[in-house]
């Protein structure tokens, strides 16, 4: 066999290995629980509540942090300012630090004796052990996905179109909402979906802020610790299916727009 043929064989073999590495544990997980066991898990109130909590906190985090994050992404795509490179680097920090460390860092800001904790407390809100705290932890580790995607989206909108809109009498705010944002929409939505998916699957940062109420990743961990693998597996399967279903549906909806 010639060199080219050998090379292709090696490429195919290694690619197959990489794919298998991702697929095998997931397939193993899927077949680990019997159908009656899965049905029972789906009917389990604690599982249902944890999935609802996970979805709602991740959704809330995505929506709220998009409102502040999208303008920052626009700023990074359009404006030159001192220390811009450092700001861009800071955005990626939550992705590279260990998520338990991220949880500890957030706890340092939201716990009851901090300024934020006290202010929230004055309104009767306790961020630690609260869905709001869970959303904050999820947002912290997942917002880089939104920021980076939205920044690339805005960077891809020709400046000339924005200038043309200004020349046509539109205010900068109107230009942003009628030209820049619609043209960057695909990237922004795709970033938001990634942020939602990443937030939903977060464990490390959330477990430090709120063991209770339990989001599903924490519930899986708890069942594994308290009862063992057999009890954790069906919850994991149900959660993976729900996550995948959401991910696919959101992608399809975004793709149609």
């Amino acid at each position: 066999m010639n060199d080219k043929g050998n090379f292709q064989l090696i490429i195919i073999f290694l690619s197959g290995l990489a794919l298998l590495f991702i697929v095998a544990p997931l397939l193993g997980l899927m077949f680990s629980s019997s159908l009656p066991r899965l049905v029972e898990t789906v009917g389990d109130k604690e599982v249902q509540n944890s999935i609802l909590l996970t979805l709602s906190t991740a959704f809330f985090a995505t929506i709220v942090f998009s409102i502040a994050g999208i303008p920052l992404a626009y700023l990074l795509a359009r404006k030159e300012f001192p220390l811009k490179k450092i700001v861009s680097g800071i955005i990626d920090l939550p992705v590279v630090i260990p998520h338990t460390a991220a949880g500890i860092a957030i706890l340092g800001v939201v716990s009851r004796d901090t300024l934020l904790g006290k202010t929230a407390g004055a309104f009767g809100l306790h961020l630690v052990g609260n869905p709001l705290g869970i959303s904050i932890a999820m947002a912290f580790v997942s917002v880089p996905f939104l920021l980076n995607a939205a920044r690339d989206g805005f960077a891809g909108v020709p400046v000339r179109l924005e200038k043309a809109a200004l020349n046509l009498g539109a205010s900068p705010l109107r230009v942003f909402f009628t030209i820049s944002l619609p043209l960057a929409k695909r990237n922004v939505i795709s970033g938001a979906i990634m942020m939602f998916a990443r937030g939903m699957s977060e464990f490390g940062a959330v477990v430090i802020i709120a063991y209770h109420p339990m989001i599903t990743p924490v519930l899986i961990y708890e069942r594994f610790g308290a009862f063992g693998l057999k009890y954790a597996q069906p919850v994991a399967v149900v959660f993976v299916i729900v996550s995948l279903a959401f991910f696919v549906v959101l992608r399809m909806v975004a793709g149609k727009k």
């Binding site: 020709p158 000339r160 179109l161 200038k163 043309a164 809109a165 200004l166 020349n167 046509l168 009498g169 539109a170 205010s171 109107r174 009628t178 030209i179 619609p182 043209l183």
Partner: protein
């Protein structure tokens, strides 16, 4: 006519390029063409007028008001970009409506304005189309209609004809002429001298970031102030012309010549032919050169690669010939000679 727009000593260092002390004025209702090679700074001047780029020094004055520091959207000048800048996510109608929605024009009024404009620029049938399906000419008309909705005091056009084919170019020229005749003041930048001749009341020549000559097309092309202006067109033989029969034109009401391609009777415009196409001889020559006139040598000026001989044959005709030919024919100032050129070398540019 009153001076509507004035640029006073505009200078700008821009990336690898600079504009130096640009000053010119445009009168109300005037068609001003800024002519220069690519990279001469023409588009930048338009962007400065529109406020998209801030000059380092100098003033832009519109209708007596200094607008140099005004916000882009409050300038009352409309710009049509070379690449049209049509919003790709909006239909043709939504593009044209964009400024009207921005200034909160009531919807029935919007409808009327849009209908009037699309009819004027000839795109009524395209209203619901997606810009991605439009040709270059259609995109340009859409951009033009969209800019006209803001009722600009001055319309700025960046190379509006350069990417159109010949037929569309002629149509667009007519449309621009019509808009100008209706009173719209236009500043048009181009690298094509023919556009300047066909449309301009006045021309400004820009070179290396400086305006080096302004005047009406005839002054500028017939009496270029510098070698650059002359070389920009390569045309020294440039005359007012009137078509007197399908193949004949009367130049400057003095000299009748034969032209190559038939033009409609009574049309007026300019005639030009290149100095390289003009042959000088001591006697009348029997040849295929249809146009042949006796005249007197007025001047002989050396230039790179030869001599420019100007002959007074009722009109001044310039010819580029080699130094050897000047020697061989004993050409000197005051000598009687014949100048001849082919009918096909003659270009008629209608107005």
């Amino acid at each position: 006519m009153i001076q509507l727009l004035k640029l006073e000593n505009i200078s700008l260092d821009y990336e690898t390029f600079s504009l130096k002390n640009i000053s010119f004025g445009v009168k109300d209702g005037e068609y001003f063409v800024l002519l220069g090679r690519s990279g001469a700074g023409k588009s930048l001047i338009l962007e400065i007028i529109a406020g998209l780029v801030k000059p380092d020094t100098g003033k832009v004055v519109l209708d007596g008001q200094d607008i140099t520091e005004n916000a882009i959207r409050k300038r009352e000048v409309g710009i049509v970009f070379q690449d049209y800048a049509i919003f790709p996510h909006l239909s043709v109608k939504e593009n044209i409506c964009y400024p009207l929605k921005a200034n909160k024009t009531p919807s029935h009024e919007r409808e009327r304005i849009v209908m009037d404009l699309v009819e004027k620029v000839g795109i009524s049938e395209l209203l619901n189309r997606d810009p991605a399906t439009l040709s270059g000419g259609e995109l340009q008309r859409t951009a033009l209609a969209r800019t006209l909705t803001i009722n600009p005091k001055v319309l700025l056009l960046d190379e509006p004809l350069s990417s159109l084919d010949i037929e569309l170019r002629l149509e667009m020229r007519n449309l621009l002429r019509k808009l100008n005749k209706e009173g719209l003041t236009i500043i048009h930048v181009t690298h094509d001298y023919e556009e300047a001749v066909a449309l301009a009341h006045r021309v400004g020549i820009i070179h290396n970031g400086k305006i080096i000559q302004t005047g009406n097309p005839k002054e500028v092309f017939h009496k270029p102030k510098s070698r650059f202006v002359a070389s920009l067109t390569g045309i020294r033989n440039f005359y007012n012309a009137k078509i007197i029969s399908s193949k004949k034109a009367l130049l400057e009401n003095k000299v009748e010549i034969v032209i190559g391609s038939p033009v409609e009777y009574n049309e007026t415009g300019y005639v030009s032919f290149r100095s390289e196409d003009v042959v000088i001889s001591c006697d009348k020559i029997d040849s295929s050169l249809t146009n042949s006139f006796p005249g007197k040598v007025l001047s002989i000026i050396p230039f790179v690669g030869g001599m420019e001989v100007t002959v007074d044959a009722g009109i001044l005709i310039s010819s580029f010939i080699t130094g050897q030919s000047v020697e061989k024919l004993h050409i000197r100032e005051g000598k009687d000679v014949w100048v001849s050129f082919k009918a096909v070398a003659v270009k008629f540019i209608g107005r």
